[in-house]
Symmetry: C2
């Protein structure tokens, strides 16, 4: 069966015992993250699914729209705007947030893009990037320790090659990452997002997870804080898995100042009038914060050592494929 | 502020300390359910969000539709069809499943309908109704024990009035429930769904949760098993909270026989040609099963003793209101 046929007949392929093992490991991954974050004082909340606006920073994917009592509502592409609301009530929160992103058809080839996926999405009021990056490192290490201890049977051979990473993880700025890429023959123009092929290439030449920080303002969405001492550059970060598995985490400090945010929206080509409640909220005032989202299926793919992201979820949705 | 204004300005009302306490109790409710179900041998899986078809049995609400690469896809109104798929891989599963149901505008008045809500949705291969009802009773009692023990401060006065129910819970058949309703002056015609007002009325005259079983085939959707020894009646059940809080749980045994199911679809006015993968799956064969969904926001409303369901979720969506 080709990929598309195999996904359409998921009711047959799902009965493969290898997949049942992946789902059991995934359950342990999410349980481990929950236990870790609760130990750090986080409250788990229920993620929003639909709303008048959602995250526009989704790298060439389209948002999904429903008719909500005569008005177009979006299905969440990420809950970032809502995280900035909830931290006014609870200072440390996370949610298992389902996201829909209608990715370009060619993303089937990357083997790491789903059109429906989940993030463990967390936010901390008044936190710095360093604080949430440290949290992310400890969280990933704890998950790997827990999974190796509890899912030895389900992981099989992968249990031997999956190592607990050394902390602190290596850090490159975006600028330094472009130099590393140049060294392996991949040219990325300063100011642009690092494309999937380049991300996979830099991931391939690492044996441990590493950070890429301080993306240029032009490469990312309006909600990341611009550096005071280094204008044009963001206080943000991605975590990249080793061994070619690519992006794990995206996060950063958030812009919480109304005027600055409207200016950033305009610079990134967004129409502020589309962001009614969000801008009204910023006018009233919210605290600064930092946080990140870690993709659950990509983490499962990395931990289980899977070639294809569609084996890391019971009911996979891949660009252009009309599967269950 | 009226309800609509208050919901549109959720970024203000969310800062009420009473709500933060509700969200903390909700976190404990969901954690308690997870711990209980894992102790019973369940695996938690990731719920689907979109798909070609979803549950049509949603009592007068409309489904939400997105354009998925040129084809209409539904946002899940419930994951029932997918539960019948996953039990072929894992015999005891549950998921925290977000559902969208575009309810009629008048449901704002019931104070217990959201257009976006979550169920803990579980399914057990080869189980009977009695087995999953017993599981549901033990689960609800355990949640109340845990919440009373761990959320004394957040529950406040409600901690005194919230009692652990006596097991086994009282059971009425649908037919008997109609008699009880008649006794309190509410007339429901045999064969119809029990309307919201009647459900609230029968809930109001009970001090403990109770079951209503064996609804007539005409009142419910095609996926419930019809009784062999009592044709025209289903092997299904609802759990109703006491004190006017209304419906808690819906569940039953599932029809898994292809011919019977197509016949049931036809009788209930569904077009079998719309259910491509689902009917293909039934043709191949799946085991019989039983399961139920318990609404997370309604359980939170009952446990916290809230008047309004929209206080039982961080980002509430209510029929016709364009809130964040």
């Amino acid at each position: 069966m080709d990929i598309s046929e195999s996904l359409k007949k998921r009711y047959l392929t799902i009965q493969n015992n290898r997949l049942a093992n992946v789902f059991k490991v995934q359950d342990e991954i999410v349980s481990s993250i929950r236990a870790f974050l609760k130990g750090e004082g986080f409250t788990e909340i229920l993620a929003p699914i639909i709303g008048p606006v959602t995250d526009p920073g989704i790298r060439g994917a389209r948002q999904a729209t429903i008719d909500y009592y005569g008005v177009p509502f979006k299905v969440m592409s990420s809950m970032i705007l809502y995280k900035q609301m909830i931290i006014t009530a609870l200072p440390k929160v996370f949610a298992l947030s389902p996201n829909i992103r209608l990715e370009p058809l060619e993303t089937v080839r990357t083997r790491r893009h789903l059109t429906e996926f989940r993030q463990i999405d967390l936010e901390v009021a008044y936190a710095t990037c360093d604080e949430v990056m440290d949290l992310g490192e400890r969280m990933l290490c704890q998950v790997i320790v827990d999974v190796k201890a509890k899912c030895h049977k389900e992981l099989g051979e992968r249990c031997k090659t999956l190592r607990v990473p050394t902390r602190p993880f290596k850090r490159y700025t975006y600028k330094e990452a472009l130099e590393v890429l140049k060294g392996i023959g991949m040219s990325v123009k300063y100011g642009e997002e690092i494309p999937w092929e380049a991300e996979e290439a830099i991931s391939n030449v690492h044996a441990e997870p590493f950070w890429i920080t301080n993306y240029p303002v032009t490469a990312r969405s309006f909600y990341y804080m611009e550096s005071e001492k280094n204008p044009g550059v963001l206080e943000d970060f991605d975590l990249i898995y080793p061994e070619g598995f690519g992006e794990a985490v995206s996060g950063g400090r958030r812009e919480n100042r109304y005027e600055k945010l409207v200016e950033r929206m305009r610079r990134s080509g967004e129409d502020p009038s589309q962001y009614g409640w969000y801008l009204d909220m910023l006018k009233v005032g919210i605290p600064p914060s930092a946080g990140f989202g870690i993709g659950v299926e990509r983490l499962t793919r990395f931990i289980c050592g899977l070639e294809n992201i569609w084996d890391a979820v019971p009911f996979p949705k891949v660009a252009g494929v009309l599967s269950p």
